[in-house]
Structure formats: structure tokens, C-alpha cells
Amino acid sequence: MELLEIVNNKLKEHFAGDIESAEQLYDYPVFTVNKDKVHDILKFLKEDETLNFHFLTDLCGMQTADEKQLGVIYHLHNMPKNYRIRLKTFFDINKPEVATATDLWPAANWMERETYDFFGVKFKGHPNLKRILNVDEMDIFPLRKEYPLEDQGRTDKNDSMFGR
């Protein structure tokens, strides 16, 4: 049975209404889940005997293309069976709150701080949620799309013929 099916069946069994989508993107099964239940789902995935996603490979943030939502992406790994899945959750940019995963994996500590630093996602229950790579005095969240990389007021450079 495909990994996507195995995980999807398990999740459907326990969190029927909270799985918004399940799809195979290249070599990864990807699940989008309800942000209020993300902690329960992570806990279930970690502690379930057959799935046993005991290793948090990666945790990062993103902003959707319409710039109205922020997301957090978890990459989980079960080493003995070599299962790898990706879990996503999205929420409104004006209320960017999601439960922390630091109680499940201490490794999530700095990764969540980094996500907060760059996207302003507030992880509820995080022991020490403050900026990590940028200076403490910074008052923006630089990886959000509303902060363009280059000075948009530049007049000496015309890229319109390239469609940008």
C-alpha cells in the first residue's frame, strides 16, 4: 500500500474532519490539516505504533501567493521504515497563531524561533519565542512578501520588458 494511503487512512480514522487535503507531490505525501488540531495530529503521528514519525526533519514557514495566509510546514520522518511525509497548516495572516511542537521535539525550539523571526508566526506555548537570526530591535518580519528585496522606488532600472 502506498504511504499516502496508509497515513491518510490512519488520519481519517482519528481526525476525520480536520484533514483538508491529502496528495502526492513528487516523492512526498503531503497533508494539509486544520491549524487548531495540528498539535494533536503531530502527537498522534509521533506516538502511533505503525506510523511512528519520531524524527522532525524540518519545520519552516511560508506565505501563500495571495498574501493573506501564513503557513507552517513540517517534514516528518520515520527512520526504521523510511517513511517521509510533509504536513502543512495555514492560518490568517492577521491572527498567526499555532500550537508549538517543542513539547514533542526539543529540536523544534530554534526552528520555531526562526519561523517567528521571519514570518511572525506566534507559537503558543513556546518557552522562549524571540528573534534568533535577526536583531531584536527589528520590527518587521522580513520573509513576508510585503517586504520586497530591492528598493522598489528605483528609477534607474527598467525591467518592464522582461515582465517583472
Binding site: 507531490l25 526533519t57 527512520m79 510533509r86 529540536a107 526552528m111 535577526n134 536583531v135 520573509l143 528585496l149
Partner: protein, 404 residues
Amino acid sequence: MSKKETTYSVNQEVIEEKEYSTLNLGPTHPATHGIFQNVLKMDGEIIHDAVPTIGYIHRAFEKLAERRPYAQITPITDRLNYCSSPINNMGWYMTVEKLLKAEIPKRAQYHRVIIMELSRIADHIICNSVIGVDTGAMTGFLYIFQWREKIYEIFEEICGARLTTNIGRIGGFDKEWSKKTWDLIDTFLKEFPKGLTEFSNLLERNKIFMDRTVNCGPISAERALAYSFVGPNLRAAGVDYDVRVMNPYSSYEDFTFTVPVGTQGDTYDRFMVRQHEMWQSLSIIEQAIKKMPAGAMHADLPDFFLPPKEQVYNNMEALIYHFKIVMGETDIPKGEVYHCVEGGNGELGFYLISDGGRTPFRLHFRRPCFIYYQAYPEMIKGIMLSDAILTMSSMNVIAGELDA
């Protein structure tokens, strides 16, 4: 600076009164090989607590990448773990190729394996010789570093650069390697075992070295997994996780090699795991040269392969491709991929989201250093300051990878 801390019993009686001193280790301490700051709470020479501050060389790579065409992101990856840039380059190419669903010729894949294993050796040479330096053995460092120089000469012969290599192309390599490159590799394979044996003889069973490193900064397998350790540091704790074996990429399944593991997860085990990995890398390179298949050096991806100059001037298509590549106007299909390679420090991941344009919509680097360095305060609790320095160098924390 010092502060008093008092421990009380239930009846508010004073059990213990201790005075801790605060020591600022770093940001530019000569012993820490890079810009790391740790505010240590010391009880004499014993570390009671540590608070690391990072981000001193943060260069906003993830934001920069959002405005760069795909080929121009390679130089950014060079500067992550700059001790083994080619592995980062290859990892990035493979991520894009996965998104493009490109098929890379076996010959190019084998060349990639050679270059990645060479840079793994270079990475481990740096880490292990610096462990030697931190224990007071400068000699090993001075002798083994000439082999790193030889590896950099090979890189220089292939791509012209030594440290930040930007080696190869999306889809393979730009050209066949020169005869001189192969001569340099042959000499390296012949001579390096002598150098490595000499280095092993100097340190591996050295009484002073073992006294300093055995049981210094240990971490158990459970804690290492909880902290998402990868690579040699995880293997030293006894978990045989290697991306090359678990999720083979670039034809690693064609080669026979063993994955060395430790038991204690201490500095000595980390040192020994890296030592043995160098021997394994040598054997992989030899196998790759022996089995080297014939064929092309580049996949059929004209969008990423600068055509030869005479064709640019005489052939319409070549001119178009040349212009598109130089101006960075190549669109990439929509999609998202995660690809990981076994870097010098373990699983180096690239999470790429493309919205179909010429630049990534979002690119995230899974940097092993950044993730496992947060276990450092736990690892150095209760040990001496000089051992803490040793623990840090044995973890191979590279500032470029840590701060992105």
C-alpha cells in the same frame, strides 16, 4: 560579573549558597573557530548553563533566493557550509532537477559522486584536525592540511574556484574534466592514504588525546534524535542513519560502503566516525572511477546548458538559449519538492516551492548545523570550559551554515 544564587529547603532554610560568574565566550573568541557567542554561567571552571546567541553572519539567503534565477542560487549554497561547497551545489542542482523531472546521465552522476566524496574528505579533514588543535596537537593539523590543499587544487582544475566553487550546472557538468584533473585525482588517491594513516597514528590511540576526548560532551541516541541530529554526530551516538543509504541519490546505490557508527556520542566517537568516513569516501571514489560509464556529461536540458560560443554566433536556437540563460529568463514548472543530500554535517535539505516563474516562490534550506547546535547547552552542562570548546569543534558547527 557574578551573582549569588541560593537554594532553600521547604522551611526556607538555606541549603546552599553559590556564587556563579558570567563569562562571555565569543562572539570573536580565538578558540571558537567562527563567530559564536555563548553567555556561560560558570561555577569555577565548570559550566552550569549556556545561552548561545547566533545570527552574527546572517545574510538573508532565503530572501535573496526569492529574486534570483535558479542558476544564480548556486553561489548562495556555496556559502552555507563553505567547507564542503560542492555537496551543497550538487544538492541544489538535484533539487531543481527533481522539480524538472530531468534524467541525468550516469556519467555525470558518477562525476558528481567523486566530487561530493572529495569534498566530504576535505570537510572531515578540517573538523578532525581542528579537534586535534583544540586538544593541543598542532602537528596533525599542519600535516593533514596539505591534503585539503590537494583537494582544492582538484576543484580549481575543474571549475576555477577553490572554496566557494559553484561547480557544475543544473543537469550535469559544463564539460569533460581535463586530463590534468584525473592525474591530480590519481595522485591524491595514491598518496592520501599515507597521510591519513600518519594522522590516525598520531591521534587515534594517543593517550593524551583520548584522555581529553573520551566521554567529553556526550549525547545519547534518544536525545540526539529528539534534537534532530544528523550525519556524523548522530552516527557517533549509535544511529546508522545516512541519507546516501536511506534515500540514495546520484547513483549512490551502485557503490558498496559501510556506515561507521559510534556508541557513546562523545567527542572521541565523533572524531572516529569522521575518520572512518574518510576511508569510505576514498573507496567510493575508487569504485566510481573503476565503474565510470561512457556517455554525456549533461542531461538534455538546453535551458540550463550554455551553448558553445561558435554555435551562439551561427545558430539561432543557440543564441536564444544563450540569451535566456544569461538573463535568467528560464521558467521552471510549478510544484514543490524537498530533496536532501548527505552533506559534511548530515542531511542537508532544500525545500523549494515554485510558482512557475523564473525565481523560486519560497526556498528553505534545512541546515543541519542550525538544528543540532541548539543541543549544545545541554551537552556542555557540567563540563569544563576547555572541554566545551572541544565539544563545539567536534560537532563541526560552521558559522555559514548556522546563520544562513
